[in-house]
Symmetry: C2
Subunit: 343 residues, 2 copies
DNA sequence: AACGTTTCTGTAAACGTTTTCATCAAGTAT
DNA sequence: ATACTTGATGAAAACGTTTACAGAAACGTT
């Protein structure tokens, strides 16, 4: 194995000078720099990461903490994050934790062992963050939950305005004349009676508010049915919801997988979509426009979300730029899964 | 920060003895071990990974190299790998590389900088491996490509028998009476005229062989159309294929996303699936049974594939067990997207 | 000519481990 | 008693870097 020592020997300079070249220090003569650089290239020398990290007491990794997972939405953000980090030559390590785990506690622990230079939180919940994030001093990005008013200057956040987007989706249904609209997906927390997860809360809140704005009071008991964010879970839930409230003419599904499961359930009940009932999804995963019927949904730009998050984090790591909070735009994608109510 | 030195001081033992305890060496007295262990716990001491790695000249990471990506199939395997590694307390770093890159070359480079203790290759191609894998001496697993006859004793492989599974899918179509069957997806390599990617080759080969077994000669010029493994890419390709060969009564799509895109394209041409044309997919991603029509497909157990791969790699890293090559079973999932031909 | 700057370079300590080797005590066989 | 083995322990070197500090050389200023 070839080390800094070898480079020093070959070049005739000392180890420190070589180190200075490696780290792009300014106090090296042009002559030395050029010579050493050429030798490094020609010997294909790679500084030993472990030694650097040991000395500097940080790793060069970035830790990504994914909470909940198993949703195409998060997966696709994660993939973008990984790709983009790779492009920057950064290494990331990913930690999946269960829906019920505390991501901040995990981060503290990871920070202790792995000493990453930053964190990206995917699919976190506002609950944990607000209180406990103060334990983390590294540059971090919270993707999916708005942390603008948390008051931490080392925490950026990138989100779509779920509340507004949900309102938009419901508004489209209202415009078509629907008045009996059900909501499907997410779940209520055991403890607080609040919605467990921030962006679920937001979507539901946005939808309910929009309904109220149009003089419709939403009856959670009757017209809401919780389920996990998958087609499998939505399938029975959709069935249950419609049997309880057969007069619903439209369903707002909290994500696309839920919409897919719901549509299947309705068809199995002998109900055509959209003629029998309208369905609108959320998230715009890539295949929705090829489904039958094409699913109406809110499209979020996951690539952009990921890109902004990564770029912001790296910038803040390198230059200590201040944390920012940004909303990524969404758009309503009109499909064929909605139509004016027939009942 | 609390170090091994501190533990030594507190316990009254020397650094070496503490190190021995940490590494579970046998030459430590029970008394010393217990005392030191209790102090480690109570001080919540975590050995510095960087120092260990520096000394031992390896990292504790495992590198996963994903080639091609962007397919739900690989994504779902990757996710399983990540989860399972996490459960074992292992750290992984993931490297995405382009379809056209050489994964072995990447691995060599990664090995030099990151010094992982093992590799997992996802979505690799047989071409590169057979020749160049000898450069890699670390325990490795090749997922998706069968390496049984490559002759490397540090390379395990886990695959589904794509060739057999494809034959099975096509056989189902044949049984229903189809004789004019098209194939959609994958692409031919520029250089060799061979199929670039091993498992694409296998699927196509399996399909073609099955046809020939029934006395049908497959005309690549007319009845095959290449495309990437996404609905977006399959949509125009399916259209093109059917316009060129309008007498096809069934399509074997090389994966489910391709099938989804194809079905959409056929419907847009005014052709009902399955009454106008049958479509069978491959891979069995989770939502296919909720699509309309439910997609007939080959279901592969990605969770099992990932689990076996991870377990095998860890076993081999720890105990130097010999490399193995295993086929994960598949099953045909009959949907509603096929029917006897009407023409 | 003496001094102060600036620019470049080298020496050596330090980072937190693992591991080789030596030491010492205690036990066992002569 | 003596020699040999065994088991437990510690001292110190080593892993490949970074960096504080000191020194040397080159130059400009008085």
């Amino acid at each position: 194995m070839i080390t800094i020592k070898d480079i020093a020997q070959i070049s005739g300079y000392s180890i420190s000078t070589v180190s200075r070249v490696i780290n792009n220090r300014s106090d090296v003569s042009e002559k030395a720099r050029e010579k050493i650089e050429s030798i490094i290239r020609e010997q294909n020398y790679q500084p030993n990461e472990n030694a650097r990290m040991l000395k500097q007491n940080i790793s060069s990794d970035i830790s990504v903490i994914v909470r909940g997972s198993k949703s195409i939405f998060l997966e696709s953000i994660l993939e973008e994050v990984q790709i983009r980090m790779g492009k920057h030559g950064e290494n990331i390590n990913v930690h999946f934790i269960a829906e019920t785990d505390d991501e901040v506690a995990t981060a503290v622990q990871v920070g202790q062992t792995l000493k990453p230079k930053g964190f990206i939180f995917l699919g976190g919940s506002a609950d944990h963050f607000r209180e406990e994030f103060s334990q983390i001093s590294l540059p971090s990005v919270l993707v999916t939950v708005d942390a603008a008013d948390f008051g931490y200057d080392n925490l950026s956040s990138f989100t779509t305005d779920d509340e507004e987007a949900a309102a938009c989706a419901v508004n489209m249904l209202l415009k078509q004349g629907h008045r009996r609209i059900g909501i499907l997906g997410g779940y209520l927390s055991d403890r607080s009676g609040e919605f467990e997860d921030n962006y679920r809360t937001l979507r539901i809140r946005g939808a309910v508010k929009e309904l109220e704005k149009h003089g419709i009071r939403f009856d959670f008991e009757k017209d809401y049915e919780p389920c996990a964010f998958s087609a499998e879970s939505a399938f029975p839930a959709a069935d249950k919801l419609l049997r309880r409230s057969p007069d619903l003419t439209a369903i707002f599904a909290l994500n696309d997988a839920v919409a897919v499961g719901a549509i299947r359930a309705f068809r199995d009940m002998g109900l055509d979509v959209p003629r029998g009932i309208s369905v609108v999804g959320f998230n715009g995963v890539s295949y929705v426009r090829y489904l039958n019927p094409r699913l109406a949904t809110i499209r979020q730009d996951t690539a952009k979300l990921a890109r902004k998050s990564v770029d912001d984090l790296l910038l803040r790591i390198s230059y200590g730029s201040p944390a920012i909070h940004e909303k990524i735009p969404y758009e309503y994608f009109g499909g064929e899964s909605t139509a004016p109510p027939s009942k």
